[in-house]
Symmetry: D2
Subunit: 340 residues, 4 copies
């Protein structure tokens, strides 16, 4: 007889939220989806019907208080993460919170404060760590497969820009925070803490992004505290397909993680060989998202600490905010200078 | 509100059967797994517990008669397919039957006879047709992307041989039938009917296979009825990984379907770049298996005819049997000569 | 001070002959091109002028007798190989002869007889053996890198058919002999002697080839004398590019040699990644042709035996002729049955 | 009858100089190598013997004055470029000068001054522009294949560091100038003029490089004058092989130039597929070096202007010097601020 499943409540039913609903309801053996919440009534009904979920809420507080809910998954707009995480901590409900932790260090630190005070379980979402490629890369790195890692190089590119309302740095954090935070987390995952950052960027393909204060391309260099090097480039116009590529160059080899095809088909025509590409992040990282939520459930069920903590959320955010500051000042920024 | 799900009973809980159990229970929106059957009590309990299935049977007849079961999925040893399919037809239960249809033409034709007489729904399992790569290849072929298809070339290789008991042609049909039938089905899927076949082969890496009448390598050439050409090679010792590769060469281009890596990681060491491979058929075709069962459910729910019929099962079997005959006689064999 | 260069005379100034002229005149340190011969006066003048060659002939006998010529390279139509090789042997001039040795076994055996009688040096041209990829593959095979080689698989495809006059089997030997002989030589190079062959084929894309008795596609299976397996497919309509691919599957791994791109450029457009292909055999094997002639010169200068002998030429031809016979009879053919 | 060949004198017989000797002597139809020069007598003799060169010099002035020499190829240590180029200009001898133009802007500008004053022909060596991949990339860019180029990204990695004596920035210019100048030239080739640069770097794998003031890794970001972006990473420890990769990301696609294999062989072993890599820059760019010298000869023979001018040499140098300055100051540097 298998162990009891974790009864999970899900807050936020956008595109990613619905993927999470399916994962929690049917793809993850360790979970049962018992409640969903979204401000929109009809969305709640639709998702709850599809996955036969009993708990239906339009106010997050109600879901968190719901006694049938043992643990909470938060996949709402970033600006709401702080309050929801704090509510969960106070209610003693283990929580999973999608990246980024917050839009400001103050908010993220408030989350940490609540976790520290209550001893609550809070796991941050950085799904790439759960991708088979990144996981295998880290295992090889740890096993000494490339000697000492010297250079971290990572690129994240969306096929198109987000809607202007989302691009607004007050909503998503903008390109560097919204997209780049994945690469900054990987930088820490593979290399350790970052000392200084320096950024260049611009709204070069979609000038309208400038009207909300966002950009569509950026290059951010990283100097790790021990002097090792990193560079991240970000773009919103990889029309050829969603493209995430990471390399760690060591003094005895290199590791590369990158998948730029969707199906195993190639077509060969006059003088040309072609293949397709990955349409978007949900296609590229679907299995990683599932693995991440399954890991969350197992951690809660087994009383293990969160492998990706609010501290991880804070430090990745700190790098992103430092990069944004560098972009606006035109000067390198000491990441630690971002107090507190 | 979504349509009611198809209540499915599953017969056979081996390795593939368990994958099907998970698919039917949780990954396919159109199905509910309501009964499972296996000769082994403890296997029935284990799977039924894991997926919370009420109907538990050790006799297939009982599952088929179970009034709660609307449709049946058969994934048992090949020699039992005939009786189970006939029982389903008589019981008026739509059925899905894993490949190959049978080990003999007589058995397969008995299945057809039952289907024809009762008007029952019977869908044959050839999961490659539901793989994104093969589906995309066929779409490009139909759209004229490579002009007229002239040569069909396909290779299927397992990383290791099956146990001797399974390899025995009386159990699995042997290499040519067990593994090759996928390629023979693809030959028909992409090109049409086969006229003659010619085979060579041997137990070259695992001589012990010869003790049960099986081989570990074969090359089978196909001449389609209209004169076009095909070739299939089969092996049981691709130690580098599970390897399925298919090419269609046309007079204006070519299509290639082949995926020989599992994760998106590459590792670069002294003078060498390397990547991993697909471990086995369940890794390579997991999504195709799921898509195939979902398609079966939709066909039943919507009253659509089976896209892969018992006729497809019979014709692929006929090619395989002709190839085995060619292997033993050393001469080309007219596929149509295999009566009836 | 370097050793004296070998003074070479070149007979045949077609497309490949002109490549050889450049190699012998300027790219190979061990040779000096001292005479050229072609039936066409103006071609002789053009090439001789370009490479500053003194000896200018329109009759091959004259070049062979030319006392300034130490060694002869024969790259004329196949039907003339016999007489030219015999003349060289009688004149005591070491010779290199482009593949295939001849169109008939009788002619090839006459060449062998002349060589055996006179003790002359005769090296046959199979440039693939001198390609870096094939050479590296053989080294890995010999070093045990894939265990025991079990299956040989090779494919040669031209981007377009030859002119009808060349396609005529009486001129070039037709698809199986003209193109396939390279793969049959590789079969022997990697695996050893072939026992039986079986072929299918047709003029499927270019029906006009049938008017001269040629085909545009063939699949030939090989059973080596020790029971191991092989398969070769040949085509004249790889419109996507010149495509030669060879695989050796062993019981502990596999080797693959294939290069299907010309420049290191990829272009990424809407949902697609593409690269170019190799235009033709002169592009794919230019370095191998040069290496082969350099090897010939070194062998002559150092008194070493020919690494690719008339026996190699005869045996590859025997396989090709057996395959043609199988194609016309529809039955497997014992290669040794082709007397003498 | 072909046109007369350009009679070329070659100064500098190091590793690259010897490659040039072979090219000029035998691989390029438009040239004849008539004189060579090196400080070492025995090197001069060796090369002159090998390629049958009459003019043998140990003083560059003598070669330049040699009336049999029509044009001069300079492939000496960088610090000597200025004087040699000026001598050629004064002597009215067209010259080709290997990159970088000089170690200081003052020297490079002195070369320009001499050229401007005398009207002499001076072509700078940036062989990547003559590589088939880069040339094809530029053609596609010009044809609008990726829309507007937005991001330039380039990476150059040597398999091992140079000897300390060479690494010394006073000798080679150090990593950023010696290796990076190729990428800076490509940046201008594909995108146009650079406004500001910012660099990070360190001696991370080979700390001994720090003793001569050099580094083994650097990341340099570029902001083009029109606001577009670029990034270059450089390394001296790509133990896996010589690795040059360049990408141009446009708003309608991307171009990638990178070749990381030497032979067309793949080997497949337990769970792994591997291939080899390019050993060094002479392997990767041999054809480009030849094409570049042939282009030089044609330009001189036909009276065409140099397609890569001293201005190109100066501007690439300016970027490299600005990057070095940024590395030492830790601040972005305005490239134009480097006077004059």
């Amino acid at each position: 007889m298998r162990a009891a499943r974790l009864r999970v409540g899900l807050i936020g039913l956008g595109r990613l939220g619905r993927l999470y609903a399916r994962d929690l309801a049917s793809r993850i053996g360790e979970t049962r989806l018992v409640a969903v919440c979204d401000p929109l009534d009809e969305v709640v009904s639709e998702v709850a019907d599809e996955f036969e979920v009993g708990g239906r809420h339009t106010r997050a507080e109600d879901l968190i208080k719901d006694p049938g809910v043992e643990a909470v998954v938060i996949v709402t707009p970033t600006r709401t993460h702080r309050d929801l995480a704090v509510l969960c901590a106070r209610a003693g409900k283990p929580a999973f919170c999608e990246k980024p932790a917050a839009l400001t260090l103050a908010d993220a630190l408030a989350m940490k404060e609540a976790v520290d005070r209550t001893g609550a379980f809070l796991q941050m979402g950085f799904m790439r760590r759960f991708d088979s490629g990144y996981a295998a890369a880290r295992a090889r790195l740890s096993a000494g497969g490339i000697g000492k890692a010297v250079l971290f190089k990572s690129s994240s590119r969306d096929p198109q820009p987000p809607p202007l309302a989302y691009a607004d740095p007050r909503s998503s954090g903008g390109l560097i925070l919204d997209l780049g935070i994945h690469d900054f987390d990987l930088a820490r995952f593979f290399m350790g803490e970052v000392g200084t950052v320096s950024a260049i960027g611009g709204a070069l393909a979609f000038p309208e992004l400038a009207t909300v204060g966002d950009i569509d391309n950026a290059v951010v260099t990283l100097t790790f505290r021990d002097g090792r090097l990193g560079v991240v480039d970000l773009s919103r116009h990889a029309v050829y397909g969603y493209d995430v590529f990471t390399e760690i160059l060591g003094d005895a080899g290199a590791l590369r993680v990158g998948a730029l095809r969707e199906t195993p088909l190639s077509w060969l025509t006059k003088n040309t060989v072609s293949h397709d590409t990955t349409p978007g992040f949900l296609d590229r990282f679907a299995a990683a998202y599932t693995a991440q939520l399954a890991d969350f459930a197992r951690n809660v069920l087994l009383g293990r600490p969160a492998p990706v903590s609010i501290d991880d959320g804070i430090e990745a955010l700190r790098i992103a905010l430092a990069a944004r500051q560098s972009l606006s000042t035109g000067r390198p920024v000491d990441v630690a200078s971002l107090a507190p």
